[in-house]
Chain length 584, copies 2
C-alpha cells in the first residue's frame, strides 16, 4: 500500500504519528525558506510543510520542483499547524515531510482542478478524467452510488429480485429508433440494443418472478436534445397480481425512502392528480406543485365584452403571481417579450395589478371594470399585492404558454427551491395520442399499456378519449418515473396492435413471442421505470444530468474523450457482411 492514511482523515489526535500519504499536488506555495504543498486525494486535502530549519536542502529542492497534479508519496510526521484552517477537516494539522517520492509527473492541466474551474464544457469533456478530480463531479458520482445503493437495498428488502435481462435483443420499429448490432454468426441479421427491458420484464412476470427490478442501461438512437443521452439508465420495476394502486403505493414507498435517506426530507403528502386535471390546472402533465399559480379559466368573466382578443379565443386563462404587483412597467414588458419569443409563441399578455388598496389596474382597463377584475382575482386566487397574468388563444397552445410563463416566474421569484421536494402522481393518462405526421394513433406510454377495462369499447368510437391505467411520478416539475398496468391477455394485446396500425403479420413477427407467452398463464401485472440520471440530478438539487454521468456523450452522440464513434476496418465490415453506403 502506498499510504497509511488518506488525505482527509488526519486530525490533531494523530499528532506526532509518522504517516505515509499519496495523492496529487493541488497547490504549492513557495516562500523560498518554506514550502507548503496541498496534497489532494478523493478524501480531502492535507497540507505538507518543508522548511529550512527542519527539512534538508535536497528535500526543499524537491518540493520546489513539484508541479500541479504531480502524483507524489510522502512520509512524515503529523504536527500541529501554526495557523489553522477552519475550512477543511484536516485544517488543524500538517505533515512535516521526511521523504518525498514523485510517483508520476504531470503536464499542466488544461483547466484548473477547482470547484469553480476555468474550463469550458467541451474542454472538460475531452479531459473528463481531470474533470472527475474536481469536487462537484466526484461528489456527484459518489452521490449517484449512494442513491443506487439505497434503491437496491430498499427494493431487495421489499422482496424484489434484481434480474439481468439481455442487451442483444430484437429490433422493433415501434417507439424510438433502435441502435442495432450486426451479427457476424447470423449473416445479414441484427440484434438491437434495448430501449427498455419492457418485454423481458413482462416475460419475467409470466415466469412467476412477481417482483422484479433492475438498474439497467437503455439505448435510443434519437436526435439528441440538450440533456438527452443515447445511452441512459433506468430503475426498471415490475410486479404481478397488482392493481394500479398497489404499484403507486410500492413506489411511493421507494420515493419516500430516498427522500428521507438521501435528502433527510420527510414528505408529508403524496398527492394524486389526473392527467386532465394537471393539464387544466397547470397546463402540463408534470406540474411543479411546490408553489401555487394554479390556472384560473376566465372565459366566463372575460368574453362577451368588447375585447376581441379574448372574445375570439378558445381559452382565456390566468395565474396570480404572488407579490408581483411590485414589478415595474419595464419588468412586465420584459415578461411580455418573453412570452412572445418564438420558443413560447404567445401573441401577447394581459396583466392586472392587485393594488394594496384593493383596487385593480390593468392593461385592458378600457374593456373591463373593477367588478370584472375582482372576478379575475377570485378565479385565479389573486391576493392584494399580486399580479394577474392572462394569456388567450387556442386552448392547448395557450396552456403550454402559460405553463412556461408560470415556471419562468417561479424561477425568477425563487420559488423552485432545490431542497424542497413535492412529489405528485399524475394518473389516468390517455391511452393513445394522435400523430399529425403519420396520421395515426400512437401509444402514449407504450403498446403494452392496458386501457381502463370499462373503456375498451370506446376504442372503436372515440380512441382519443380512452384513458389508460398509466401513471407518471413527478418530482418538482420533472417526470422521474412512468409506468402502467399492462395488458396480460392476447385478445386485448391484438386489439391494441390493431388500433396502432399493425397488421396481424407485423404484430406476430415483432411481438409474437409475447403474444404466445400470454397464452400460457400470464398474471395481471404492472410496473414503472425511473430515469435514474434525472432522478439523481433532482435529488442532488441540480438541473443538468451530465455531472452525474461519469463519461457522458455530447449532443452529436460523440464521446469526445475517446473519440467515438470512429471508422472501422474494411475487414471488420466484410466479416459482418456489410458495406458502407454513404450518402455523401
Amino acid at each position: 500500500m502506498y499510504r497509511s492514511h488518506n488525505c482527509g482523515e488526519l486530525r490533531t489526535s494523530n499528532e506526532s504519528e509518522n504517516v505515509t500519504l499519496a495523492g496529487w499536488v493541488h497547490k504549492v506555495r513557495d516562500k523560498g525558506f518554506m514550502v507548503w504543498v496541498d496534497l489532494r486525494d478523493r478524501y480531502g486535502i492535507t497540507q505538507l510543510i518543508f522548511d529550512e530549519e527542519r527539512s534538508s536542502k535536497t528535500l526543499i529542492d524537491q518540493a520546489q520542483k513539484l508541479g500541479r497534479e504531480f502524483v507524489i508519496q510522502v512520509e512524515g510526521k503529523v504536527i500541529e499547524r501554526a495557523s489553522k484552517n477552519p475550512n477543511i477537516p484536516t485544517g488543524d494539522i500538517e505533515i512535516l515531510v521526511a521523504k518525498l517520492v514523485v510517483l508520476n509527473e504531470a503536464l499542466l492541466p488544461p483547466f484548473t482542478i477547482e470547484d469553480k474551474t476555468d474550463g469550458g464544457e467541451e474542454l472538460r469533456m475531452k479531459y473528463r478524467y481531470l474533470d472527475i478530480r474536481r469536487n462537484p463531479v466526484k461528489e456527484s458520482l459518489i452521490f449517484r452510488h449512494r442513491v443506487t445503493q439505497e434503491v437496491r437495498n430498499y427494493l431487495t428488502n421489499e422482496g424484489f429480485i434484481d434480474v439481468e435481462t439481455p442487451y442483444l435483443i430484437k429490433s422493433t420499429p415501434e417507439g424510438a429508433r433502435d441502435f442495432v448490432v450486426p451479427s457476424r454468426m447470423n449473416e445479414g441479421q441484427f440484434y438491437a440494443l434495448p430501449q427498455s427491458p419492457q418485454t423481458f420484464k413482462q416475460l419475467l412476470m409470466i415466469g412467476g418472478i412477481d417482483k422484479y427490478f433492475q438498474i439497467v442501461k437503455c439505448f435510443r438512437d434519437e436526435d439528441l436534445r440538450a440533456d438527452r443521452q443515447p445511452e441512459f439508465t433506468q430503475i426498471d420495476c415490475e410486479m404481478s397480481f397488482v392493481e394500479q394502486e398497489d404499484v403507486l403505493n410500492a413506489f411511493e414507498g421507494l420515493t419516500r425512502h430516498l427522500l428521507k435517506e438521501i435528502n433527510g426530507v420527510e414528505v408529508s403528502s403524496f398527492p394524486r392528480m389526473t392527467f386532465d386535471e394537471a393539464i387544466k390546472k397547470y397546463g402540463n402533465d408534470k406540474p411543479d406543485i411546490r408553489f401555487g399559480m394554479v390556472f384560473g379559466e376566465l372565459n366566463a368573466v372575460t368574453q362577451h365584452k368588447d375585447f376581441n382578443v379574448f372574445n375570439s379565443a378558445e381559452l382565456v386563462v390566468g395565474i396570480a403571481v404572488p407579490g408581483a404587483n411590485s414589478f415595474t412597467r419595464k419588468e412586465i414588458d420584459k415578461l411580455i417579450d418573453w412570452v412572445k419569443r418564438p420558443q413560447i409563441g404567445a401573441l401577447g399578455m394581459v396583466y392586472c395589478r392587485c393594488n394594496d388598496d384593493g383596487s385593480y389596474k390593468s392593461s385592458v382597463d378600457k374593456f373591463y371594470d373593477q367588478d370584472d377584475f375582482s372576478k379575475w382575482a377570485e378565479i385565479t386566487g389573486a391576493q392584494t399585492g399580486d399580479l394577474i397574468c392572462v394569456l388567450s388563444g387556442d386552448a392547448s397552445k395557450v396552456r403550454g404558454q402559460l405553463s412556461a410563463l408560470r415556471m419562468e416566474l417561479a424561477e425568477q421569484l425563487g420559488l423552485r427551491k432545490p431542497d424542497e421536494f413535492a412529489p405528485l402522481w399524475v394518473v389516468d393518462f390517455p391511452l393513445l395520442e394522435w400523430d399529425e405526421e403519420t396520421e395515426r394513433y400512437h401509444a402514449m406510454h407504450h403498446p403494452f399499456t392496458s386501457p381502463k377495462p370499462d373503456q375498451i369499447a370506446l376504442l372503436d368510437t372515440d380512441p382519443g378519449a380512452v384513458k389508460a391505467n398509466a401513471y407518471d411520478l413527478v418530482l418538482n416539475g420533472n417526470e422521474i418515473g412512468g409506468g402502467s398496468i399492462r395488458i396480460h391477455d392476447k385478445e386485448t394485446q391484438a386489439l391494441m396492435f390493431d388500433h396502432l396500425g399493425f397488421t396481424k403479420e407485423e404484430a406476430k413477427d415483432q411481438f409474437g413471442f409475447l403474444m404466445n407467452a400470454f397464452e400460457f398463464g400470464a398474471p395481471p401485472h404492472g410496473g414503472i421505470a425511473f430515469g435514474l440520471d434525472r432522478l439523481v440530478a433532482i435529488l442532488g438539487g441540480q438541473e443538468t444530468i451530465r455531472d452525474f454521468i461519469a463519461f457522458p456523450k455530447n449532443n452529436s452522440g460523440r464521446d469526445v474523450m475517446i473519440d467515438a464513434p470512429s471508422p472501422i476496418d474494411e475487414e471488420q465490415l466484410a466479416e459482418l457482411s456489410l458495406k458502407l453506403n454513404l450518402k455523401s
Copy 2:
C-alpha cells in the same frame, strides 16, 4: 392487490382466517366428490380444497374445469388438513375455497413445470418464461441476486464507488472481436460494445476515484463454445495507490465474505501459487486443490532404462490416484481409452498398482524393478492402495493431458465436492504469450498489464520469459477472477504496444486518449474482474452457467425465444448508411 397472502406463508397459526390467494394451478386431483388444487406462486404451494359437503356445486364445477398453469384467484378459509404433508412448509393447512376467479387461462405447457422436467434444453429455451417457473431456474436467479447484493454491500462498505461506464465506446482490434454499433448521426462510423470497461476504469483511477467497482455487462463476438455467452457479466474492480498484495488482500476479503454469507463456509487458508508452480504441479493454471494427485516428475527415475517411450519423452510425469489400486483391468483400460481420445490426445498411459502388501505391479514390469517403482511412489506421493498413472511426451502437451486425467479421476472418485471450497491465487503470470498463427507475441492478460519492473529489460532479449504483476483467483478448478497491476506511465505503455507489434500510429489512434491521460498525473493502480455468471454457478454448486442467466443465448448466439438476431428493414439500413454484402 389480488392477494392477502402468498402461497408459501400460511401455517396452522392462520387457521380460520379468511384469505385471498392468487397463483398458478400446479396440479388438480379430482375425486369427483372432492377436488384438490395445488396453487403455486414464487413463494411456494398451497393446497386448495373443494368438496361436495362444504362447497357449492358451481364451485366444484369451476374447479374441475381448471387446467394446468391457469392463473386463478381464490378466496377462502384456512383450515387444518386431514392428512398433512410434511414435505412443504404449508403442508399442515389447506384453503376451503369460497370463491374462485380465473384470471387467465393457459394452453397446456410444452413441458412439465417440475424440478425434474420432461423438457429438453431447446424447448426450455424457447419457452424460457415457463422454464423460469420451475424451482431450479427460479431459485438460481434469486441466488444470483443474493450474490450481487452481497458483492455490492461488501464493496460499498469497503469504500468502493459503483460507477457506470459507457456501453457505446470505441472499437479496438486488440483482444477478442468487438460487437459494433453503426452510428446514424456520425455517418460511416461505429461504436463498439465494451469487451470490458478496462480503459474507463483506468481513467477513473486517473480521475482520483481510488476504489471503483461495477457489475457490468461485457460483450465478445467470439465463436461460441459450450457455456460461453456473447454477453456476460463482470464484477469489475480497480484501486489506486496499491501494490499487488493490496489487491489480493482486498479481494480475498470479498471472496471470504461471499463464501461465508452465501455458503456458510469459513475458508481456513487462501494460498498463493506462482503460475510456473501451478503448471508444474497441476499441469494447468487453474488447479482444483480440493484434492491431491500433485504431479510427480519422473524423468530422473524412468529414463536411461530400456523403455524407449519414456527415454524419448521430454517429460515423464505421474499422479497417485488415491485408493485406485482397486480399479479392475477393464476400468484401467477405459481410462487408457479416455486419455487416447482425440480431445485429450495422449498416446498411451503407463500405470503402476501399489499393492496392499507393499509390492508394485505395473504395465511396464519388464523395464523396471520394484526399487524403481518405490521411487515412482515416493515422487508422486503414492501410498499403499493407490494407482500411479504416468503419461509422457512433449512437456506442455503431456501436462495438459495429465491435468485432464486428474480432473476426470477426481470426478469419478467424487473428490470434486460442490459444497467444499478451495480458493487459490495464481500469481506471476507471463506477460506475453507467443501466438503461432500471427507469429507474434500477444498480451497474456491485456496490453495494460505491468511487467514486473525488474524484468522490463528482459523484454528486448527474452520477451517470453518476462513475468507480469498479474494474478488469477481460482476456485475449485475454475478461474473466477483475473487482474493485474497496470502500467501507469506513457513510456512503459508505449514500450508494451511496441512489443505487441503496434506501430506508433496504431497505438495513438486506438489508445491515444489513455496515453495522454497518463501524462496528467496517473497514480499507480491495479484491479481485478470476476466473471459473475461462473462465480454464481460455482457458489451455487453447479457446473453450467445457463440456469443462472435469465435469458441466455444458444451456441449460435441466438435468443430462440424472441428469435433474435433478425433481418432489419432496408430503410433502417439506409439510415445507417449501410448495405448488406452477403457472402452467399
